[in-house]
Amino acid sequence: MSETLLEVTGLAKHYPVRKGLIVAKQVGTVRAVDGVSFSVNRGETLALVGESGCGKSTTARLVLRLIEPSAGSIRFEGVDVTRITGAAQRAMRRRMQIVFQDPYASLNPRLTVAETIAEPMLVHGIGDAAARRKRVEELLTVVGLRAFHAQRYPHEFSGGQRQRIGIARALSVQPDLVVCDEPVSALDVSIQAQVVNLLKDLQRRFGLAYLFIAHDLAVVKHVADRVAVMYLGQIVEIGDKRSLFASPRHPYTRALLSAIPHPDPERRGQVKPLGGDLPSPLNPPPGCRFHTRCPFAQDRCRSEAPSLRRLGPGHDAACHFAEALPPAGLDFTGGLSENAAKRLALYAKARAA
């Protein structure tokens, strides 16, 4: 079960910044992703979380080699995918698929649903026309759409349905790894729940591994097995979901968790905003990159960059003072009132009936 599917080591993507009209001189480097290492096991979900601009989407695209890394290696079942080309690369791509954030922009408006879902099979030369048609019908049922939807166009569907089409397209070539780049962020909360349930259900049925990019920690807590928190192109904390949510060791993870508003008016005003904005990745602060916003920063943090180190079983964090931090003081319990819980149980029962 814990067989490693994807292993990423020291991955980096630097974009040169040039200035000058005739002779373009490089004046700086945007370190979008700067030395990221993680692994994803077969059938498990690793979530990458962080604020916009932290490099999580760039990491996802690097893994699929939609953009070329500046450094580092990406091994898929032991094969370094940064070095393969041609047919070998295409064969590898069949096994890694992606579901995009925006269900409106990621489907070609001129293709029918059947054509959209069949396109990856066509590209990879899987089956004949009849077999593909049959597979499209099968996939539509798998993602909770109906066979007659095959001949329709994307504009005839709602956001949630379109995201289901995107998922069916990704599954058409039977991948082992699906990169989900904020797959539910653009959806309404009730539809978000439908899609999250679908993704979990598909994972159980087909043994899929997910690299799940998200900024909503509540969704991540629900979906992921392990979580990696990114800040300015680096992973600052990575660990098993339970241990990471129960005892976050990095001040940034704590800040993210405490910024989530609770759906409970009794706990109003407990949200403690993190001061300041994300610094520019063109000019990241020296030492620990988080020190400019960290309430616990000391002199050492300003000069010496902390590296990820083991703090518990399967739980690493990059903070000099992880052991010395006061208790996180995060308390998520007691959210639902008795009446709400009772009626939600009735709702669940009636819905299942």
Binding site: V196, A218, P261
Partner: protein, 328 residues
């Protein structure tokens, strides 16, 4: 204390289409007390944005307000001329939008855009005076070094800063009511927390009322004093915030609460609401929620449920609320 700043009565906003008129907001009654926050919750397409645009009288052709009144301190905004309405916007009622990226004009400086509304309401003010007032407005929304930001362009600001600029613009003429339409949806959670904090502080300082439109129940719980849940153009539940979360009545509200992944529990599957919001040209008969409602009975398919008070101060538009009374 219980005096209402804004009262909406029987508001109906329709859009003319090729297939006839469709009703986006259908008979909504709401009130916003002075100095308090009303949260309006619902999925996209439930009419919450059209409702707020109706209050601002900004519903664009082919939409129009077909019936109802919008009373601001007793004065009906629906009957005002465009010129009169322009005096109301900004100085009495102001609005901020979801997209701080696109709500600002990229070719003008921040300062120019803040002073634009001030100039419109006070044409005789000098440039130096306007600049001073704009910098004060930027200061009020806690923008660091506001005199430098005054001369900057929107692309030089982060998303959170842009939303602060939008708030500064909205509050420049000290409105009595601020309508915030999904003000933090496009922002990161850490920035969202900063903006919500700011709105709360500003409300305490100025005593303004806020209508907060959002689909995020966490944000509502954090901010709202009273909550209206909307579905398919109607208010389906209305109560104090504590009662909405502590004693939810309408099955739609329950579905929304069940859909939110919570940090305090472990669940295999979320309680989603099946299906999606019906478009306004294909509304079901009877209760508009009945095709998605797990509690729907025969009478829900034929009778339109009125918004009735189930317990004191808490109304729901459901024939079968509270649900446990009918479960057996």
């Amino acid at each position: 204390m219980s005096e209402d700043l804004l009262r909406i009565e029987g508001l109906r906003t329709v859009f003319r289409t090729h297939g006839g008129e469709v009703t986006a907001v259908d008979g909504v009654d709401l009130s916003v007390p002075r100095g308090r926050t009303l949260g309006i919750v619902g999925e996209s397409g439930c009419g919450k944005s059209v409702l707020s645009l109706s209050v601002m009288r900004l519903v664009a052709h082919p939409g129009r307000i077909a019936a109802g009144r919008v009373l601001l301190e007793g004065r009906d905004l629906v009957g005002l001329s465009s010129a009169e309405m322009r005096q109301v916007r900004g100085s009495q009622v102001a609005m901020i939008f979801q997209e701080p990226m696109t709500s600002l004009n990229p070719v003008h400086t921040v300062g120019f855009q803040i002073t634009e509304a001030m100039r419109a309401h006070d044409p005789r003010a000098s440039a130096a005076e306007l600049r001073e007032r704009a910098i004060e407005a930027l200061n009020r929304v806690r923008i660091p070094s506001p005199d430098r930001r005054f001369d900057e362009y929107p692309h030089q600001l982060s998303g959170g800063m842009r939303q602060r600029v939008m708030i500064a613009m909205a509050l420049a003429c000290r409105p009595k009511l601020l309508i915030a339409d999904e003000p933090t949806t496009a922002l990161d959670v850490t920035v969202q927390a900063q903006i919500l904090d700011l709105l709360r502080d500003l409300q305490a300082e100025t005593g303004m009322s806020i209508i907060l439109i959002t689909h995020d129940l966490g944000v509502v719980a954090e901010m709202a004093d009273e909550v209206a849940v909307m579905y398919a153009g109607r208010v389906v539940e209305r109560a104090e915030a504590g009662a909405i979360f502590g004693d939810p009545m309408h099955p739609y509200t329950l579905g929304l609460l069940g859909s939110v992944p919570r940090l305090d529990e472990e669940r295999e599957t979320l309680l989603a609401i099946d299906g999606s919001v019906p478009p306004p040209f294909a509304l079901p008969k009877g209760c508009r929620f009945h095709p998605r409602c797990p509690f729907a009975a025969a009478e829900c398919k034929s009778d339109q449920p009125p918004l009735r008070e189930v317990v004191s101060g808490h109304s729901a538009a459901c024939l079968r609320a509270p649900v446990e009374a009918f479960a057996a």
